[in-house]
């Protein structure tokens, strides 16, 4: 699954540690999501949506076959 986390984070001038703290996860988790190595749980996806004040489907994009 692709996501716009890195772009959205850069727009707000947040470091990975800053976003990790806002989401209450490790910085490594943010890095893994940004690089596509880890898909967040539904709960974390909702939290990300709240932190960026955007709908989930505008942050996470389904990859086409």
């Amino acid at each position: 699954m692709k996501n716009r986390l890195k772009v959205l984070r850069a727009e707000r001038d947040w470091s990975q540690a800053e976003l990790a703290g806002r989401l209450d996860v490790s910085r490594q988790a943010v890095n893994a999501i940004e690089t596509g190595k880890h898909d967040p749980s539904l709960g974390l996806a909702f939290k990300i949506s709240r932190v960026f004040d955007m709908p989930i489907e505008t942050i996470f994009l389904e990859e086409e076959d």
Partner: protein, 150 residues
Amino acid sequence: MDHEPDDIRNPGEARNRARQRRKWAFLLFAGLVGAVIGALLSGLENGEGNFLVGQIETLTMPAWAAIAMAAAFFFAFAVLPVWGFTQIDDYQMRQNLIGYAGGCIAAVAGYPIWAVLAMGGLVPHPTAFGIFVIAFAATMLTFLAVKLRG
């Protein structure tokens, strides 16, 4: 002190630092538990042999000490890791579970492989301690591999 303005401007980074401190406190506590178990074990065991290399046939200890040590090992190898799972995020949980899966697979596959090799006279017969070492080492190696892979 200039911590407060920094914390207000970057509340997430402040929480992340607190999270890091909790992680190091947990690791320090786990290390302390290990040191206490090691010290107690060396003080309570009698006879000849070495617990750390699995030579326990000629080692003894009082029944009360055996029960106390069993409880300490249960705390160190079961309670502490399970509690640790409640303190980490789902990404770290995934890494830990993959590590434990590596150890479990190594023990399940390791015993029959070792047994048939022993039947062929290629290696000594399997021991419970040997299986423990295989499982523990495989857990650590799998966890490290997953961590390094990112």
